[in-house]
Symmetry: C2
Subunit: 350 residues, 2 copies
């Protein structure tokens, strides 16, 4: 198979971890006789530094022409504590999501057996957890109109959703549930928000097309509790952009390391694959960051193109590593491997 992959490694630890997933994809290409072409481009704080734009035209064009985007991380503390910055790294990612039409962010959360004891949660709580979160990614309060009054004393953000936006991601979530445990949980705040009531109405109606799927509802505050009290109750979680941001990051603690969690963003254009950890600037340049989330994102990329055997091989290799307690410092304090060593071992296993 021939595939053009845009590599946007971005800020912080992004470049280090993405380098490893490219290495792994190259290993796969060699083993299976595929032709993967990688092209790098700028995004985020580093793109602002070099071009003044967090998503240069060139980068966007490359992504649109590519079959897939392998994304690193975005964000730099120098912007976070400056509410007056006019240009910010995150704008690059948000614009990319919008331009590529990536309306669904898919985040699987599993508790690996070998890591049960690394979780802040008790073993008996997390055992058997295997869920996937479908977060809407191009609507809601992220993209609604933003206002700041002339005198700078009043600010607002609009959270808006249309039936169309809800339906297209809901279909994906229900179809995925059909391949899994046949349960969809809609997370919203329908007791307060008009937009959440629309979600509930639309999803309830659409569920009639999927009579084999059980649909239930949770208010987001309750969901934030259930995620910790009883995470194994979930199969597919479906939710809007902001709630999905919070709930999925919360869920990322279950598995014992955020350094393991991958995501895929899909929609109408080129799909994007990204570890869910952020740019983690404290670790940048030290060759200590965990590249597994990025490597598993590469596996999700292969999966997206129905390269199931290839994806399975990567997943398998990661499991072997975890079982043998080979890991970066977040997983193995006594005898940590470096970022690049982890990539090397996985390539070797392939």
């Amino acid at each position: 198979m021939k595939m053009k992959i845009a590599v946007l490694s971005g800020d912080g630890i992004g470049p280090e971890v993405t380098k490893e997933s490219v290495k792994v994809l190259e290993g796969i290409a060699e083993a299976f006789g595929h032709d993967f072409q990688f092209t790098e481009a700028l995004v985020g704080a580093i793109a602002i530094d070099k071009t003044g734009n967090p998503l240069p035209e060139e980068t966007l064009n490359l992504c649109k022409e590519s079959d897939a985007v392998l994304f690193g991380a975005i964000g730099d503390p120098k912007y976070d504590n400056n509410p007056d910055a006019k240009v910010r790294p995150e704008q690059g990612l948000l614009k990319l999501r919008k331009e590529l039409g990536l309306f669904a962010n898919i985040r699987p959360i599993t508790a690996y057996d070998s890591l049960l004891d690394k979780s802040p949660l008790k073993r008996e709580i997390i055992q058997g957890t295997d869920m996937v979160i479908y977060r809407e990614l191009t609507g809601g309060i992220y993209f609604g109109e933003k206002k700041l009054s002339e005198d700078g004393k009043v600010a607002s953000d609009l959270c808006e959703y249309s039936q169309f936006e809800i339906e297209r991601i809901a279909h994906l979530a229900f179809k995925t549930a059909q391949q899994r445990k046949r349960k969809v949980t809609l997370v919203d705040k329908a007791n307060v928000l008009e937009s959440s009531r629309l979600w509930r109405r639309v999803v309830t109606e659409l569920a009639k097309q999927y009579p084999d799927i059980a649909l239930d509802f949770l208010f987001v505050d309750n969901a934030a509790m259930q995620m910790i009290l009883n995470p194994s109750q979930f199969d597919v979680i479906l939710t809007e952009n902001m709630f999905g941001d919070i709930i999925s990051d919360e869920g990322s603690v279950i598995g014992g390391s955020i350094g393991l969690l991958a995501s895929a963003s899909v929609g109408s254009g080129t799909a994007l694959f990204e570890p869910i950890h952020g740019s983690y600037p404290q670790a940048a340049g030290k060759n200590i960051a965990n590249p597994i989330a990025s490597i598993l994102s590469a596996a999700m990329l292969l999966e997206q193109f129905s390269l199931h055997d290839e994806a399975r091989l990567i997943n398998k290799a990661v499991e072997i590593l975890l079982n043998e307690n080979i890991g970066t410092i977040d997983l193995n304090k006594e005898n940590p491997s470096s970022t690049s060593e982890i990539g090397d071992v996985i390539v070797k296993l392939i």
Copy 2:
């Protein structure tokens, strides 16, 4: 001391648990020679059933004339799954918050030593947790303009904040931090939301008046992780309405039982005291619900009127109960006490 207390026990387990906290307050009144007058009034689903209005005029007037409101719970499943209901129980609570000017919801979260093993989190994670969340309660997306298009296909909610709304609660949070560990953490999403950038700007400016307080910032998605990874890092958390709803319910799992968590809502009018658990309809009428959250809310009420000894006595009694493993079924599966037994024991200890 003479005090007029409005009792709004509401829905589900509200009436049962509130009955116990009234009992306890009566015990305190007797022991200390206070004169507490209790007047009951309707709110929530039960008020809709009886009057068509989730917050009848009479109830609102009573609250305005009272020195404090003791609140039970609100909500009924028959409204939750009906996005088309025009009148909903929650409107009663939201209107009450607005009418009484209750702009700050205060939720302490502590890990009781005797309950460390009941938490879904590991003992070493939660040990030493002692934080208080200041959640803005009368602004943001809860109260911004709500719209539904004529054809019912587009819905929106506006999240708006003004400098004034942010400052008044921020002052409370910083003043509380001065009595505690001198740290305020602002939780927002300033990398995406204009309203969050206003929060960051206003709070940063206001912090200059409190040079003895350390101020830091967390994006809400990261906060949702930190709450579980390392809850003891927090002292005072300050945040807007929606994020506060999610983060504080998430935090409620730390202590091992949501049945222990109290809250106070304060502002420009009569203050309101409320357990943070909801109406929990499955348990209603069974005399099994944990009344301690309501009883501790009564202690917060006393605290608010500087009745420190009285409040301390209740807190002490609760600790004794927990140490002796006397509890409702959520805390003691083998040998559970009933709701009313717990109230009785606490009264006796007083």
